[in-house]
């Protein structure tokens, strides 16, 4: 080995060792330094700016919402690709015969937490809705398994091979409407029973917070239909009906006889 080669080899060794040493120092230094640096901002997942509410006592199980959901997102009417799942149980009677399983846009979303690639994320560009970027999804289905609800609100799209979930219609390539928390949702627009609604308020984090009585705020009472969750008339409805009947009777008694 000549002197020149020795010199060249030594320089190369020095360079590689130097790169290694500098990198080691940078990583270890960064690790130690970051443990002492507390961020000024609060590290929290921002709440979604919109939530779907359902009224299972109004739902008749027509599945229009499922077909609409699949249509606006995928251009085809597939029950499997719907991000809202209507489940009907023929062995149970009203009011427990229908479930409307919509994503709850959880304040601490387990699906987002479980995703190893950031595909399932909080979309700050669309009102902090929890959604999946299919391009980043590696198909591990951790989000599908992590969802604490049954059926899982994170779904596996077996045709396009990626996870997906309700995005409040933020990304609807087959629907010419503005969606997301500030726009329209296909399930709400398509429901003939108006059994799905939207709110910007964070619902109470329990089943009753998302499955609410929408009949009190729509035309159900005017139609004379029951408002009670058990399918019966509420006490106030009965009282009002009795009062109306009494008023009619009093009016007929007071009226002059011909």
């Amino acid at each position: 080995m000549t002197e020149e080669t020795k010199k060249k080899d030594y320089t190369r060794r020095e360079f590689v060792t130097g790169v290694g040493g500098l990198g080691l120092g940078a990583v270890l230094g960064g690790l130690v330094g970051s443990s002492f640096l507390l961020p000024d901002k609060v590290l929290a997942i921002p709440a979604s700016q919109g939530y779907l509410l359902v009224d299972t006592k109004k739902c008749v199980g027509c599945d229009s919402c499922m077909l609409a959901c699949s249509l606006v997102h995928h251009g085809s009417t597939s029950f499997s690709n719907s991000r809202i799942q209507i489940v009907q149980n023929p062995f149970v009677t009203f009011p427990n015969d229908i479930e409307q399983n919509q994503c709850r846009q959880c304040p601490y979303p387990a699906c987002v937490d479980a995703c190893p690639t950031g595909a399932n994320h909080v979309d700050t560009a669309h009102g902090n809705v929890r959604t999946v970027d299919p391009a980043k999804c590696i198909g591990c289905e951790r989000c599908v398994n992590a969802c604490p609800f049954t059926p899982s609100r994170a779904l596996w799209n077996s045709q396009e091979k990626h996870a997906q979930k309700c995005d409040l219609c933020a990304e609807t390539p087959y629907w010419n409407e503005k969606g997301g928390p500030g726009g329209k949702q296909a399930c709400i627009e398509s429901c003939p029973m108006k059994a799905i609604s939207f709110t910007k308020e964070v619902p109470v984090q329990k089943d009753a917070g998302y499955d609410v009585n929408l009949r009190k705020t729509d035309g159900t009472a005017e139609l004379g239909l029951p408002l009670g969750d058990d399918g019966k008339y509420t006490k106030s409805q009965v009282d009002a009906a009795r009062a109306a009947a009494a008023a009619m009777a009093a009016a007929s008694k007071a009226a002059p006889k011909h």
């Binding site: 080899d9 190369r12 060794r13 020095e14 590689v16 060792t17 130097g18 790169v19 290694g20 040493g21 500098l22 990198g23 080691l24 940078a26 990583v27 270890l28 960064g30 690790l31 590290l43 929290a44 997942i45 959880c106 601490y108 979303p109 387990a110 937490d113 479980a114 190893p116 690639t117 950031g118 595909a119 970027d133 299919p134 391009a135 980043k136 999804c137 590696i138 198909g139 591990c140 289905e141 951790r142 398994n145 992590a146 604490p148 091979k161 990626h162």
Partner: protein, 302 residues
Amino acid sequence: MGRRSIVAVLLSLAVAAGVLLALKSASAATAALGIRGAPRLLFDSAAWAVWLAPFAALFASGFTRRQEPRIIDRQVLRHDDAAILQHWAHAAGTLILVGSGIALGIRGFLPRLVAGTYADGVAFNIHFLGAVLFVFGSFYYAGNTLMSGRLSEHLPHDVGSSLRVVAAHYSAVLGKGKFPAEGKYFASEHLTYPIAAVGSTLILLTGLIKVAAHGANIPGGLMGAVTLTHDITAVVLGLYLVAHAVAGALVPWSWPLLRSMLTGLVPLDYVREHHAGWYRELTSQTRPEPDDEAAKHAATAS
């Protein structure tokens, strides 16, 4: 107990500790899903180890002094300590990565074998362990090769000659003709080296981008391309691994080489029979181009 045995025991213990950490971490992460600040996958909580591995490997390679092959008591020192360390770190990393990768599946191509957040978490954490080993082994090899100038030893010199030598070699394996006078590395190794080198580089680059995605928001289009490249390269390298394991470990005539990956030594008689070109090189000061020599030998034999 020799120094090499101590290193082997320590590395085995480190891998075992890594597996235990992977199990424990997956369990904790599963139990705390959805809870703010909860423990997460090792790719999230200990990604620094993946970034530390290449620099630690380069730094270590800077202090490594390679030994040239030489004859020692009817045996040839084929693999020095550095070669053994880089090979087994790379091999262990690859095996763990392939095993856990198969368990995790490839989107749209290979169905997953694990289901549920705990099983997924274990597979991801085992994959993490493999990634650290693989990155360390790869960069340690790259550092050593860069400094020792041994890259040309591996690269194919003349594809046509090499193909003729490969044909003659496997004819001899089947009992037809003599083994061509090959160098330290078989012609088949020269021909397949670019696949391993390019494949390893691609899977390292794409893997590191995937690790970066745990701490940074990588654009979806780039991540899609990276994932696809990672998956395709993994399949190619998986097939390469099978071929390498069969040719280098399963067939009986390769057992001396497999043993030398543990002891560093290969019998001189084996070298004379299977690597005649290298044998001549070792026993003389002349240094013929191995493939050219072997091609001439193969041509005259046929």
